[in-house]
């Protein structure tokens, strides 16, 4: 019982509809009656009387009833109260109803008024009810949307007002806030765990590395040192998974060409088989993260495809970074799967071509977060092609001349 009496949406809507329907009838009746008693200036034409005779709608009987009932004209008899359509034409035609205010049907303007009042009241009620329904939905959707971006960050998660609205809305708000809070705690805990793990792994790795430094030079020692470096790289990518997926920072308008070229120049300086071609192209991105992505693609190309030919260019509304290699490519069936974390094409699961299988996953994630895309295709002439697309930003031609 209490449930029904409380401020529930159920009760609100039920009451609203009931009140609106009854109110519209009563309101329309009252207004029309009011106007009828104050005689309208224009005469009533009989044929308009036929207009309100929508048999299925309540107004006509409702009005027709009291009309003849109150007036002295029941002499017209049988047709009066019932909206039989032919009868109306007769009943209006003879000026029996001559005294104003006692018509058998309704005038055009009164009909409009009658319907107008009903439409207005029902419309208002519908608007109110729709708002009761949709406003909390909007708030929920908005909060859920911002939840995704704010999870795991320090600024906290969005909270809904638990004291506002009907019982159901307050319930939903409470449940949502609980859920968001739990997600947030777990996200933070996971981040802290990974950070602590990687810190606690790096300390023993450093110890091992220093122990190796005490040993005489030996190929075995060298290989141990390599393993330590590999493990450190794995920790690094696992850490970056949590660090970078939580935020990419503000996007800056960046000369993509300069980012990529500075990377390839550095690699060329180190003697890597890398080439570059391209023109100035400006996009909104995070230069440091973009460099990491392209660096990952280029090192993949060098590792699996002997060399990397990198180019940058604006194609319409996108800035493209293309990395071509001369390797065997990836079987078409694996082209999507290589973006999954820890996935590796079967044959690459060997020591020489190590890596944790996180690179492409992180790379695509970082690019997506900057509003771009990363795709892989096998080139017709052999080798793999990685394409990074970023939405271009148009600057006046005078700013960058090369």
């Amino acid at each position: 019982m209490k449930r029904w009496l409380a401020d529930t949406l159920f009760l609100r809507l039920f009451a609203l509809m009931w009140v609106a329907l009854v109110g519209s009838h009563v309101g329309a009746y009252a207004v029309v009656k009011l106007f009828r008693e104050t005689p309208p200036e224009h005469d009533r034409r009989s044929f308009v009387g036929s207009l309100p005779t929508f048999p299925s709608l309540p107004p006509t009987p409702g009005l027709g009833g009291p009309g003849p009932g109150g007036g002295p004209g029941p002499g017209d008899g049988p047709g009066g109260p019932r909206p039989g359509s032919p009868r109306h034409e007769w009943s209006g035609e003879p000026p029996r109803m001559g005294p104003p205010g006692e018509p058998g049907g309704m005038s055009w303007s009164l009909t409009v008024l009658d319907y107008g009042v009903r439409l207005l009241i029902i419309g208002l009620a519908a608007w109110l009810g729709a708002r009761w329904l949709s406003a909390p939905m909007h708030k929920l959707a908005k909060a859920a949307r911002s939840l995704g971006t704010s999870l795991g960050r320090d600024e906290g998660v969005p909270a809904l007002d638990e004291a506002e609205g009907t019982v159901e809305v307050r319930d939903t708000a409470r449940v949502f806030n609980d859920m968001a809070g739990q997600l947030h705690t777990q996200f933070k805990a996971r981040g802290l765990l990974v950070a602590a793990l990687s810190h606690d792994l790096r300390t023993p790795l450093t110890r091992m590395r220093m122990r190796l430094a005490r040993l005489p030079e030996d190929p075995l020692v060298e290989r141990c040192a390599l393993d330590i470096r590999d493990m450190d790289e794995l920790i690094d990518s696992a850490l970056s998974l949590f660090r970078d997926t939580s935020s990419v920072g503000p996007l800056q308008s960046t000369d993509v060409c300069s980012v990529v070229q500075s990377l390839t120049d550095d690699l060329i300086e180190q003697g890597q088989p890398v080439t570059f071609s391209g023109d100035t192209a400006v996009a909104d991105c995070q230069p440091v993260l973009l460099r990491r992505v392209v660096s990952n693609l280029v090192s993949n190309a060098v590792r699996y495809g002997q060399r990397a030919d990198v180019s940058v260019g604006a194609r319409g509304d996108v800035v493209q970074v293309v990395v071509n290699d001369h390797g065997p490519g990836i079987p078409a069936s694996h082209l999507d799967a290589v973006f999954e974390p820890f996935y590796r094409v079967e044959s690459s699961r060997s020591r020489d071509t190590g890596g944790a299988g996180l690179g492409l996953y992180i790379a695509r994630d970082l690019i997506t977060r900057q509003g771009g895309s990363l795709t892989l295709v096998n080139r017709a002439e052999g080798g793999l092609q990685a394409v990074v697309c970023l939405p271009a930003r148009h600057v006046s031609a005078s700013t960058q001349s090369s």
Partner: protein, 234 residues
């Protein structure tokens, strides 16, 4: 002989680093905590401090700042965090270099020597003071190694371009010969020669929008070298 202080709370790492550095002819003292380090720094003299960022009793960043303010000894930070943000932070509080754990022991020696060389030339900590310098509407961020154009577009620099531009902004208005530039932009593991200098100059001009024919920023002085012809503000 170079005197080095190694500060780390992990005994084996501390002793391992000490033994390794001693092989390279350094005199090494060790400290296990921030308090011990403060005491040693006040009583003895050191040429360089190798400092772990995470100590049980003290914050490495605060310790680093304290060393800079009181003794002015070069500091190389070690950290197991490996977070790019902490590198920036470490360099901003005045660390001379920053090495993530686990490091290659040889790399540590190379960094120590580089820091000592800079200290002897009296060039150290120039960067810490002015992270961003400006010239003709351009902003040069030396920590992120990037330029921001007068229109606010980020332009990234390669290592070679970064070293060259660093040399230029420290000596604006001075004619620098190719030999001087080779000396100033030398980096471990990279061969710098006339050709690579010329290449880096042309790349830099391109990125700065400086026409090679009538360059105004990096002007060619025929037979002498290059001059960075502008005012630099910090």
């Amino acid at each position: 002989m170079n005197r080095c202080l190694v500060v780390d709370d992990d005994g084996e790492i501390r002793d391992g680093v000490r033994d390794y550095l001693q092989r390279f002819g350094m005199t090494v003292s060790t400290a296990t905590s921030g308090a011990e380090m403060r005491r040693l720094v006040q009583t003895e003299t050191f040429d360089v401090i190798v400092l772990d960022l995470m100590l049980p009793d003290d914050n490495g960043l605060l310790l680093c700042r304290w060393v800079q303010e009181t003794a002015g000894i070069p500091v190389i930070m070690l950290t197991a965090h490996g977070d790019p943000a902490s590198r920036v932070l470490g360099l901003e509080v005045g660390a001379d270099d920053y090495l993530p754990k686990p490091f290659e022991p040889r790399e540590l020696v190379a960094r120590i020597n580089a820091v000592l060389r800079r200290a002897q030339k009296g060039e150290r900590n120039k960067e810490a003071g002015q992270r961003v310098v400006g010239f003709q509407g351009w902003q040069f961020d030396r920590l992120l190694r990037q330029l921001v154009s007068p229109d606010g577009v980020v332009v990234a620099l390669s290592s070679a371009e970064y070293r060259l531009l660093s040399a230029f902004v420290e000596r604006p208005g001075r004619v620098l010969s190719r030999d001087q530039l080779i000396e100033l932009t030398r980096a471990p593991g990279v061969e710098v020669n006339d050709r690579s200098i010329d290449l880096a100059v042309s790349r830099l001009r391109q990125k700065l929008g400086d026409q090679a024919r009538e360059a105004v920023l990096i002007r060619t002085m025929r037979g002498e070298g290059y001059v960075f012809d502008t005012k630099v503000s910090s």
